[in-house]
């Protein structure tokens, strides 16, 4: 029997762990415990910090003295993860693995192949995005076990958070990384939901006063590298309050780091014009200084400008330090207006239609305007949710979803100005359609809420408190070649067959009406695989024509299976039916069931490249 519920927030730039002692009957309130994570902060020095920077440094053999990377639980460790990995890696970028999580959900690369650091020189022993994630998790596991003497983390209830926008393959890979780190049976939870759980826990029973039946909560989670939206409805069943996750947004590679970099590039250009050239390390410290300056300006409305000093690389500090300043106008123009412009509800983000084939580097969002991404999300989902029974009656028939409450998460929103700007933008959209202004839900720690909420969710899973329902936030489809006469030079169109509908609950199965699928014995069989976060009405067995050109469908990496040639002869053709299920842990599984037989084969989500 697990003694603790452990919430792990495996973030793109930072990770955190929170523990919840399960036997207790009440919520933790403000004594929510966050693991102080031991990590090397410089050679020979281990410190405990509440966040573990998600950076892995791959040192050269003779780069550091023997034993200087030792961790309290491993004197011979040569894994360099966390604070020093990040700070030293800024001087040796070719050996630094960063944003492994973004690579993990990038369908354009083989995520189990050693490709990181991206474009590293040949003598660096590279790792796969999967391996890097597994190493972060192993570090967190051993740090926790060291702190809780003798307890084993895999014997606890472990909840690992993923972006709501993670597709089935990225979720599967996260589970695999956990297994490699010695964590079996982990449960997945979407980060915006975790943030809402943290809010519910922080408020205790008081949350019922703030949320009324019929409300729709918009969760805006802007992390270091990603932006994630979710909509959660407050509904009523038999007099009880229910929370249902209605929809999630697409994966947007845009976050707080982009904002710091924007400021740094602007100041760097000004320094260049003054004839002052920064080296790579100085640019990194300029970025860091910009983050702090931004927080100063945002936290104190009296500050008109704030000085920024970048230290010399050499020991001549006096005379070698480069000085500049950042003004309030610049911060507001570049960040508030640059990332959160006051736009209209019908202003959509600039997109470059992803071709997906040759795209190798991370697919960063081409449009930095988070408010435009938000407008797109609310508008698209209004269409998708038309006729949905979970949608509160008051919100039906609007051109975009009208949220009544906004919950912010992520360090970016420590700046009140930015929270206000988003609330202003949303409320200006609401005014046009005569909607009530949305309120802001406050009271969570913006850096640690996800880990805390995840630990709380482990307790909720044991039958306490209130649980957010919603099931899968996407429908899944396999590609079937359309039966059309062959035309030379033209690929036959691909139809998409729905195999897993939207909103499948954990532990449920979807039977697909019989189709004509065949597996060839002894040969791998591949299916093209699609998903949609918008098509809510499709039922298993529904077919969508010309999937590759459908705007609402996104092609994922293919799925495949291989039948061992045992009883049947190789080359034989076995008719099968497809079956989809969502495991108790929150991952999607697809199986082939033999028609008129007992054979069952799992379809693996291929994490390698798209064709």
């Amino acid at each position: 029997m697990a003694r603790y519920s452990i919430g792990i927030d495996l973030g793109t730039t930072h990770s955190a762990v929170s523990s919840f002692e399960l036997p207790r009957e009440t919520v933790r309130g403000h004594e929510q415990s966050v693991l102080q994570i031991a990590q090397v902060v410089k050679p020979g020095t281990v410190d405990e910090l509440p966040l573990l920077p998600s950076f892995l440094y791959l040192p050269n053999k003779n780069e550091f003295p023997d034993g200087s990377l030792a961790l309290p639980w491993n004197k011979k460790s040569d894994d360099l993860i966390g604070d020093f990995a990040r700070s030293h890696g800024s001087k040796v970028p070719a050996r630094l693995v960063s944003s492994a999580k973004s690579w993990l959900c990038h369908p354009g690369v083989d995520r189990s192949a050693p490709i990181l650091p991206w474009q590293a020189p040949p003598d660096v022993e590279k790792v796969s995005p999967l391996e890097a994630s597994a190493r972060y998790l192993r570090h967190l596991r051993t740090a926790w076990e060291h702190k809780y003497h003798g307890e084993k983390l895999h014997e606890q209830e472990v909840v690992l958070t993923v972006p709501a926008s993670f597709d089935a393959a990225a979720r599967d890979l996260t589970t695999q990384a956990a297994m490699q780190a010695g964590l079996e049976n982990i449960v997945l939870l979407e980060e915006p939901q975790a943030a809402l759980y943290a809010w519910i826990e922080a408020l205790g029973e008081g949350f019922r006063k703030q949320l009324k039946i019929g409300e729709v909560i918009l969760v805006i989670d802007v992390g270091g590298g990603t932006t994630d939206f979710s909509l959660i409805a407050v509904t009523e069943k038999k007099g009880d309050i229910h929370l249902t996750r209605l929809a999630v947004g697409d994966h947007i590679l845009l976050g707080g780091d982009n904002m710091d970099l924007t400021l740094a590039h602007t100041l760097n250009q000004r320094l260049l014009n003054e004839g002052k050239k920064l080296d790579q390390w100085q640019f990194h410290s300029l970025t860091y200084a910009c983050r702090e300056a931004k927080e100063r300006v945002f936290n104190d409305s009296k500050i008109k400008k704030t000085p920024i000093a970048v230290a010399s690389r050499g020991s001549a500090l006096i005379g070698g330090t480069i000085k500049t300043e950042l003004t309030r106008e610049e911060v507001e123009e570049l960040l508030t207006d640059g990332f959160f412009p006051k736009t209209k509800i019908n202003e959509m983000p600039v997109t470059t239609r992803r071709t997906g084939f040759a795209q190798m580097a991370l697919p960063y969002a081409p449009d930095p305007a988070i408010t435009k991404h938000l407008a797109a999300f609310l508008t698209h989902q209004a269409k998708a949710l038309t006729g949905n029974s979970e949608l509160p009656a008051a919100l039906k028939g609007k051109s975009f979803i009208h949220p009544t409450a906004i919950l912010f998460n992520g360090g970016v929103f420590k700046a009140e100005t930015l929270r206000e700007r988003v609330v202003d933008a949303v409320n200006s959209w609401l005014r046009v359609e005569n909607g009530e202004p949305a309120k802001e839900l406050q009271g969570i720690d913006l850096d640690l809420a996800v880990a805390r909420g995840a630990a709380y969710y482990g307790w909720v899973r044991q039958g306490h408190g209130i649980r957010i329902r919603g099931g899968t936030a996407r429908a899944y489809y396999v590609g079937v070649e359309a039966a059309v006469p062959a035309v030379p030079g033209f690929e036959p169109p691909i139809n998409a067959l729905c195999v897993a509908p939207f909103g499948m609950e954990e532990g449920s199965e979807a039977q697909i009406p019989p189709q004509e699928f065949g597996l060839v014995v002894g040969e791998p069989t591949r299916f093209r695989f699609f998903s949609s976060s918008l098509r809510r009405q499709d039922k298993p067995g529904d077919v969508i024509a010309d999937a590759a050109r459908d705007e609402e469908l996104e092609e994922l990496s293919p799925i495949e299976t291989s039948l061992p040639a045992k009883d049947s002869k190789a080359g034989n053709f076995i008719p099968v039916n497809l079956q989809a299920m969502v495991t108790e842990l929150g991952t999607l599984e697809l199986r082939c069931l033999e028609k008129n037989g007992s054979g069952r084969w799992k379809l693996e989500l291929n994490v390698r490249m798209k064709e």
Binding site: V41, K42, P43, G44, T45, V46, D47, E48, P65, D66, G67, S68, A70, P72, K91, E292, P307, A309, V310, A311, R313, S315, A316, L317, I318, G319, G320, T321, I322, K323
Partner: protein, 176 residues
């Protein structure tokens, strides 16, 4: 080790020695060995400083985070206030952060400087220092000139056996 007294032979003694060397090849060999360039001394590995490791660690941290050693080792006289000021921002920002991580700092007395305060009987003479007209028995009445500082909640990280903390900052060599 025995103390060797240095002897400086006179001119004729040295001339005599020269003739002895002419006739005695073995002696000449010995002399050659003696006068050859000494073998380069092997670098002696100094045992890591243990007793003062945590003090050295603090110095190293203030250098790493706030460049304090760089700042103190430079001659400020030849620089303008502008340049010293720019560097001081680096030192202040970094050292403050480092200090905050290592310890919480609180004043010894909560009263504002300039306030009248009473120093009670049995006061802690380490925490409160009396100045001015010190006579008679407590309680004393006086004016708070400096509120003092104490370090609370020390959070020193665990230090490694394998590191010589006398190296306050490593030399950095960038490879191209």
């Amino acid at each position: 080790m025995t103390n060797e007294v240095e002897v400086t032979p006179g001119f004729f003694q040295r001339l005599g020695l020269a003739f002895r060397v002419l006739g005695d090849a073995a002696l000449a060999g010995k002399l050659l060995k003696l006068t050859a360039a000494p073998e380069p001394a092997k670098p002696v590995s100094v045992p890591a400083e243990k007793a003062h490791a945590s003090g050295l660690f603090v110095l190293g941290t203030l250098q790493e985070e706030g460049r304090l050693i760089d700042f103190l080792q430079q001659d400020v006289v030849s620089f303008s206030d502008e340049e010293v000021g720019a560097a001081a921002r680096v030192v202040h920002g970094g050292c403050k952060k480092a200090l905050q991580r290592l310890a919480s700092l609180t004043p010894v007395l909560k009263e504002a400087e300039g306030d009248n305060v009473i120093v009670p009987t049995g006061f802690d003479s380490q925490r409160i220092r009396l100045t001015g007209n010190v006579s008679g028995q407590p309680p004393y009445r006086g004016v708070l000139k400096h509120h003092g500082w104490t370090a609370t909640d020390l959070k020193f990280p665990s230090l490694s056996e394998s590191i010589d903390y006398r190296v306050l900052a490593p030399a950095e060599v960038e490879l191209s």
